[in-house]
């Protein structure tokens, strides 16, 4: 049905033409889910945008053929292309929060789309919309259709987006990361729905994703992309089971397995990673001096955090929203505690409470036997400021974009009075860069000159330069590609075992936590569902919730 050959897309720029994708070929049959997998910057979304004719200016299709059931997609007039979009090719976007107009009722958005493509009365259009909503699993659709997007939950909203893509009976639907913004349980439902639609309605799906688990769950065929080229293509079982291209193999190797713990990920040796020189040893020695202090543990007792709620009446005091209910847990000195939970479960609130950004309502936090002053009562020079360091989720915002790496790294040294001499600070910062696997000349560059993975290494280096004893890693790899994630996880494991750090590792990704943690806490709606040794929790989950989560997480067929 869809046939793409030799597709090349270029972006003219002030540095000359940049080729975003080159010689891409693929075919999608009716009823087939074709997975397009690759890491960020591989050009996956550009392929989708080129097919639907929505390339961002100034991008253009330089050459190649694209046909949809006999129609040449390249030789359409703007009006024909406009009619084609929505009618024959639809699109599902990543974020259901932003792909629906928040000010319009769902009914209007659906009816509008149907009427734009068909000469049909508003009443008939509405009836069709209700039918579609029912078909994709929205209960009580004839009433729910009057709701506004914000009145649906995330998963339901993504169903509405799918209904919107579906309501004109398209032949091809391009789904660009349709489940990336969703929690595991919801993701699995949405994926099942897509698979069902492909089978029942014979719609071809182009499923763009970075998540190989998603591909494994529903794709019939898969193409692996990198740097704008398709490296390998074939049936899902064949590509994931017996990958031919070394990149595919490396990619599969870096996917953390859910069912077992592996010691270190197999990562292709990097050129500058192996040439570790004495500089790194210098940093290592310096850190080990600090290790003379003993390992610290963290004990949380009956911690409760409540935020003031939204005022609904002028006279009544608003009800508080409780983000954490009586949390008690214990991080053993020198161990890694994994904290898993879906979005909104209170993971980040817990991290913020430990660091003093959020004021707890009740309970206390003990660090190495001492009670930490809560929230704002913790002074700036409290010793815990140095002992506890944090690594954040988004490496693009955790480094000040206007500061050079050297300045960023010297800050903890200067702040905690660890090294007084400016020149020495610089040398130590350079050495630390070496220790985390970066070239020392990075010191004079700015954060934007680095990739996400490199920035996360810099963030790790900054945390280490404070000579911390306790690290909080808040989703440290969820903004990273899977191969980079493997590198960062390896790095954290190495550092942890070398320096005896205690780590609180927060993630929504069960497989990642399995690889990292000694003990694990499962959080749901601010309550602890389960707390135990990782091995036990993963193999014999006691709570219904954890069992469900484990079942719903897509897993790779083990080769």
């Amino acid at each position: 049905m869809l046939n793409v050959e030799n597709l090349t897309v270029q972006f003219p720029s002030r540095f000359g033409d940049i080729t975003a994708i080159e010689d891409v070929a693929m075919a999608i049959a009716p009823g087939e889910v074709h997975g397009l997998v690759g890491e960020s910057g591989a050009g996956k979304s550009t392929v989708g945008a080129a097919i639907i004719g929505l390339l961002q200016a100034p991008g253009l299709v330089a050459h190649g053929q694209m046909t949809l059931a006999g129609t040449d997609l390249r030789n359409l007039t703007p009006i024909e292309a406009h009619d084609m979009r929505g009618k024959r090719i639809s699109m599902i976007f990543q974020d259901p929060q932003t792909s629906l107009n928040p000010l319009m009722r769902v009914e209007y958005q659906l009816v509008e789309t149907i009427q734009a493509h068909e000469d049909i009365s508003a009443k008939d259009a509405r009836a069709r919309a209700v039918n579609i909503l029912e078909e994709i699993g929205i209960q009580n659709a004839s009433e729910r259709i009057n709701a506004y997007p914000h009145q649906f939950s995330g998963g339901m909203r993504q169903r509405v987006v799918i209904a919107l893509a579906l309501c004109t009976n398209p032949e091809l639907i391009i789904a660009d990361e349709p489940t990336t913004a969703l929690d595991v349980a919801v993701q699995s439902q949405v994926l099942d729905l897509i698979k069902e639609l492909a089978l029942d309605r014979k719609i071809g799906f182009m499923l763009i994703t970075h998540d190989i688990g998603v591909i494994a769950q529903i794709a019939d065929r898969v193409s692996v992309m990198r740097n704008g080229r398709i490296l390998e293509s074939g049936s899902t079982g064949q590509v994931l089971g017996a990958p031919q291209h070394p990149y595919t193999q490396a990619l599969l190797d870096s996917v953390p397995p859910l069912d077992r713990k592996i010691d270190r990920f197999r990562v292709p040796e990097e050129a500058d990673g192996s040439s570790r020189n004495d500089a790194g040893d210098h940093a290592e020695g310096w850190l080990l001096e600090g290790v003379q202090q003993k390992k610290v543990g963290l004990k949380i007792e009956n911690l409760r955090v409540a935020f003031p709620g939204v005022r609904t009446s002028l006279w009544r005091k608003p009800d508080a929203f409780t983000a954490l209910h009586d949390i008690s847990l214990n991080v053993k000195p020198g161990s890694i505690l994994g904290l898993v939970g879906e979005s909104g479960s209170g993971k980040s609130t817990l991290a913020k409470t430990i660091t003093g950004l959020v004021n707890p309502t009740a309970g206390h936090i003990g660090l190495g036997g001492e009670i930490l002053p809560p929230g704002k009562s913790r002074t700036r020079n409290h010793p815990s400021r140095q002992i506890v360091q944090m690594i954040f989720q988004d490496p693009f915002s955790s480094l000040n974009p206007r500061h050079q790496i050297g300045v960023i790294l010297s800050e903890p040294l200067w702040l905690y009075g660890l090294v007084t001499d400016g020149q020495e600070r610089r040398e130590l910062a350079a050495a630390m860069l070496d220790l985390v696997g970066m070239a020392s000349d990075a010191i004079d560059k700015y954060p934007h000159q680095f990739s996400g993975g490199q920035r996360q290494r810099i963030a790790v280096a900054r945390a280490l330069l404070a000579r911390p004893r306790f690290l909080i890693c808040d989703e440290p790899t969820s903004a990273l590609d899977v191969s980079i994630q493997a590198e960062i996880l390896n790095l954290l494991k190495n550092l942890q075992s070398k320096f005896g750090l205690t780590i609180l590792f927060i993630s929504h990704n069960l497989a990642v936590v399995r690889q990292m943690a000694d003990d694990v806490v499962v959080l749901r709606n601010g309550r602890i569902e389960e707390f135990g040794q990782t091995q036990d929790v993963y193999q014999n989950p006691k709570s219904e919730y954890m069992r469900e989560l484990l079942e719903l997480t897509p897993i790779l067929p083990v080769a």
């Binding site: 002030r14 950004l357 700036r380 400021r385 989720q393 915002s397 955790s398 206007r402 702040l415």
Partner: protein
Amino acid sequence: MNAFIKRYEGLWLFTRSPAAIIAAVVALLSIIGAAFAPFIAPVNPYDLASFSLMDGLLPPVWESFGNSKFLLGTYDQGRNIVSSILYGARLSLIIGLSAMTIAAVLGVGLGLASGYYGGQFDMIVMRIADIQLALPAILTALLIDGIARGILPSEIQQDLRVAVLTLAIALSLWVNFARTARASTFVQMQKEYVQAAIIMGQHPIRVMFVHILPNILGPLLVIMTVDLASAILLEATLSFLGIGLPADSPSLGTLIRIGMQFMLSGEWWILWIPTLFLVALVVSINILGDFLRDVFNPRLR
């Protein structure tokens, strides 16, 4: 040269925007002319000995009866218009720049602190800003002028005219800076690098000025150019209404006020030439501000 231009996006965009180039040339010429007025101007317009009644009301040089000694003509008492404009622009720009600077320092400081601390402090500052906005600039200026007249000894009042005017204008402009700085600070506060700095236990002053300020400079620079134009205009308005500078040390606004008397009597140049100069200066600064906004906000491009 080309490679150099391509390295910097702002410069690159600049070379492809004729409006920005023309505006920059006009603004630069005016500023240079004003800054070096004592060296460039044919005569010192404040020096009463330098002009004679014989040269009164001469038209610009291209009109009949024009005199090449007075390129743009003269006032009724023979004062050279070229010199008056250069000296007037000098005063206007000094007042405008210093008012803008005071407003920026005050507004950015309060805005940063508001955004950083939030809560009660933020509420108080923002309500003061709201009240400030409710008072027209002219009213503020009159108020300050009145207070200054009341408390300052009369000998130094004349000398402090410029300072009082500057303060009045600054007070009506700081709100823009405070609001922009506050909003941008709120955005930066959510960024993890700021949280990292707070968790580390860095001093609030350092977090505000070393970490946050460099990251919100973009929108503030835009406000600076736009407010510079507003400050110049405000000064002109106040002087035009007679609250600003007196006729013996005329700014652009004063020159326009003087010109008003001749509007209907045929000596058009006395009104229109300073007016055109003011319009050109303000418009070009505004165009530069718009251009900067585009550079800093790629989404508007």
